[in-house]
């Protein structure tokens, strides 16, 4: 499946899924909408060939959907509360989180900037958001080497003191990301990045028929969701 969507379509998908999953009820037509929304990230993950995360996601989510549909009604008391909470967190945040991940990993910085420009967002909004795309991989790199350093120092090991672990990770990560952000700003400025100067784009994005179709589907889902 070499289907490539316009970033605007992906944004629309992300917003719709986020809204429906976060607040939908577990009965009636809303439950069917939720099932559809749960399935979308799975298909999209397959389309960018992240098979491992797609399958993991499918197992996890079908498990929770099953629990919500068939186990929750037959339990009560503490058991009900525990199952409800765990399922609730996974089913409500899972799809949205995976959509975000899909969005960041399938969209390039320049596609994002171009799309935001076409939707007439000001640079003040677009540019800080676009840095996010390289911020996450940077954060991962930094975290991995800090984790190594901790292993070697034999600190923050074990579960005895989670707060200390967090402190030991956060302090160096803050220090290095502040430095990286500073250097990156300087470098971007010397490449002529400025706010509201206007810029051109070599990247071409365009809305295809299936983009419009998907957006239409999302809009109708939202209409059903809020009208009924």
């Amino acid at each position: 499946m070499g289907l490539k969507f316009d970033p605007r379509t992906k944004l629309m998908l992300m917003i719709t899924i986020g809204l429906i999953m976060m607040s939908g009820k577990l009965t009636g037509p809303e439950y069917i909408l939720r099932l559809v929304c749960t399935a979308i990230p799975f298909i999209l993950l397959l389309s960018i060939k992240s098979f491992k995360s797609a399958i993991l996601y499918a197992i996890l989510l079908s498990g929770t959907v099953f629990c919500e549909g068939f186990i929750v009604p037959y339990t009560n008391g503490v058991m009900n509360l525990i199952v409800m909470t765990i399922c609730g967190v996974i089913s409500r945040f899972g799809p949205g989180y995976l959509m975000g991940w899909y969005f960041v990993s399938s969209t390039s910085v320049s596609e994002f900037i171009t799309a935001m420009k076409k939707m007439h967002f000001p640079d003040v909004v677009t540019i800080p958001m676009s840095v996010m795309f390289r911020y996450f991989p940077t954060l991962k790199e930094e975290y991995l080497s800090i984790h190594d350093a901790m292993k070697m120092r034999e600190i923050g090991q074990g579960v005895k003191n989670p707060f200390q672990y967090v402190e030991y990770v956060l302090v160096p990560i803050m220090m290095s990301t502040v430095q990286i952000a500073n250097d990156l700003s300087a470098a971007s400025l010397t490449k002529g990045l400025g706010v509201n100067n206007g810029r051109t784009h070599i990247c071409r994005i365009s809305m295809k028929a299936y983009d419009w179709l998907l957006i239409l589907a999302m809009v109708s889902m939202l209409v059903i969701f809020y009208a009924f």
Binding site: V109, S110, M152, A187, L189, K191, G192, G194, T200, I202
Partner: protein, 506 residues
């Protein structure tokens, strides 16, 4: 043309207690750089060469603030009154750290970035990228994820991005710091092409050997002032003794002598067996079935980017669980867990391994032996820090230290951990002659303390300063290993600088 008249600049920084502290950037700069001239700025750390570069590309005063007097003119523009995005059409910049100069994740997008910001026609940009990639021979770097590139490749992509917009002035701030010899040679070739095109080039740099034949002029900075100017004829006559005396790195690596005496034999060995390891992406894997390295000396691990040096180091340290290999050390066979308890790595970016609020705490954190009490720990910490000239910083926050001091703090923690094997990952990248020698002397101290020291490095001069044994890694295997002395120095040269065999003018 670039013209400085009576330029002074002081950085404004805020100290921990909230008072302002002005640090001299440059002073009394009067300088004229002609169109098409190639100027090298050199001198020790903090001498003002980076500040001069920032004054040309407009980061001073538009990004780094402070007190600026005098006038800087670049291509007819007053830098002070011209916004950076206008300057950037005429001045391209390459920075020291390849990790932090990319706005995009995709390389082709990055190459287009500067031109897009100047509102060039997209179709034209696409064509320019194509021709630039051909011209600089970087086609295989197009359309890649920057997180998968080596430091050298990133630096080449940064140069390509500048070439697309093709500004008349290019400034580079220590561009070779993180590169191996091959990548430096490629960088030198790009600079040569730009020079032939008539671009004005200003390079601030410690490592001078690759600039020797390109430079029209070299300016030696000291304490923010231009101490001396050398024209190209004078540069070519500077000998190793001269550069030593001036405190700068040598202009020709072939002159650097080997300090090590021939040794009779090594007494004890560290032996690695079945070190076979590869990552998921199959890159940087290592296949070492049997390897012995003398354990009572300093060993340099050398090899080109991607040869597997870091993988080897990580495996020795026990950071890779899935490595089945064993290490024999002082008669003990060690699996990965035991190795984790006996090895300590000083990372290239030391910021990642400093966790506490004071240098003293940092050192004491490493003393995991529960049988000694706090007073004893503190006493030992003072002793270790005194040895490394850090005792006055006992109460200081590690992040308030300079790069070299941070590195020494990490070394101090390594000593405090009483682990017998210390591994350094490129400890001298971006260091000037003085600091490089300082690191070398610290490593010699560690050797005296009886530590086994392994160093991953690209720095030829540094290897000659302090290493006794050389391990050549290629494609994840040991290509050769030998003690370093006057007889084997040729081997080392051939490996590090393969293209200059017999030419004698690196």
């Amino acid at each position: 043309m670039i013209e400085f008249s009576n330029v002074n600049f002081e950085y404004r920084t805020t100290k921990a207690d909230g008072t302002n502290d002005d640090i001299i950037g440059v002073k009394n700069i009067n300088l004229r750089i002609r169109d098409g001239e190639f100027v090298v700025l050199t001198g020790g750390s903090g001498c003002g060469k980076t500040t001069l570069v920032r004054l040309i590309n407009g980061l001073i005063p538009h990004f780094y603030t402070g007190k600026l007097t005098g006038e800087v003119m670049v291509e007819g523009m007053h830098v002070k009154d011209t916004p950076i995005y206008e300057l950037s059409e005429h001045v391209g910049s390459v920075f020291q750290n390849p990790k932090t100069q990319f706005f995009n994740v995709n390389t082709t997008d990055e190459m287009a970035f500067a031109a897009e910001n100047q509102r060039r026609d997209p179709e034209h940009i696409v064509k320019l990228i194509e021709t630039t990639a051909g011209f600089l021979n970087v086609r295989k770097l197009l359309d890649r994820n920057i997180f998968e590139l080596s430091g050298g490749e990133k630096q080449i992509v940064a140069c390509a991005g500048i070439a697309v917009l093709s500004p008349s002035v290019v400034v580079l701030d220590e561009p070779s710091s993180n590169l191996d010899h091959d990548a430096i040679t490629r960088l030198g070739k790009i600079l040569k092409k730009w020079k032939d095109e008539g671009k004005t080039i200003v390079v601030a740099e410690h490592r001078l050997f690759y600039l020797k034949d390109l430079a029209d002029r070299m300016l030696l900075f000291r304490n923010g002032e231009i101490e001396h100017e050398y024209d190209s004829r004078e540069i070519s006559t500077l000998t190793l003794d001269d550069t030593e005396r001036l405190g700068i790195r040598p202009l020709s690596l072939l002159e650097v002598p080997c300090k090590q005496k021939e040794k009779d034999a090594f007494i004890d060995y560290l032996r690695l067996e079945n070190f076979d390891f590869s990552y998921k992406d199959k890159k940087h894997s290592i296949h070492i079935s049997d390897l012995s390295v003398p354990s009572d000396c300093v060993t340099a691990i050398i090899g080109h980017n991607g040869a597997g040096k870091s993988t080897l180091a990580r495996n020795i340290c026990g950071l890779e669980k899935h490595c089945r290999g064993t290490m024999e050390y002082h008669g003990r066979r060690m699996k990965y867990k035991d190795r984790l308890h006996s090895c300590y790595m000083i990372m290239q970016d030391v910021n990642h391994q400093l966790f506490t609020e004071s240098v003293g705490d940092e050192v004491m954190l490493s003393m995991t032996d529960k049988t000694i009490d706090e007073d004893e720990k503190e006493k030992r910490a003072h002793a270790i820090l005194r040895e490394l000239d850090l005792d006055i910083f006992f109460e200081t926050h590690p992040m308030a230290l300079s790069g070299g001091q941070k590195q020494r703090t990490a070394i101090a923690s390594g000593i405090a951990s009483s682990k017998p094997i210390l591994i350094f990952d490129e400890p001298t990248s971006g260091l000037d002659l003085y600091h490089m020698k300082q690191v070398a002397s610290e490593i010699l101290k560690l050797k005296e303390l009886g530590k086994t020291v392994l160093i991953i490095t690209h720095d030829y001069e540094f290897i000659l300063q302090c290493c006794d044994y050389v391990l050549e890694i290629e494609d994840g295997q040991v290509r050769d290993s030998y003690p370093l002395d006057d007889h084997t120095i040729d081997k080392l040269r051939r490996f590090i600088m393969p293209k200059v065999k017999g030419e004698g003018n690196v």
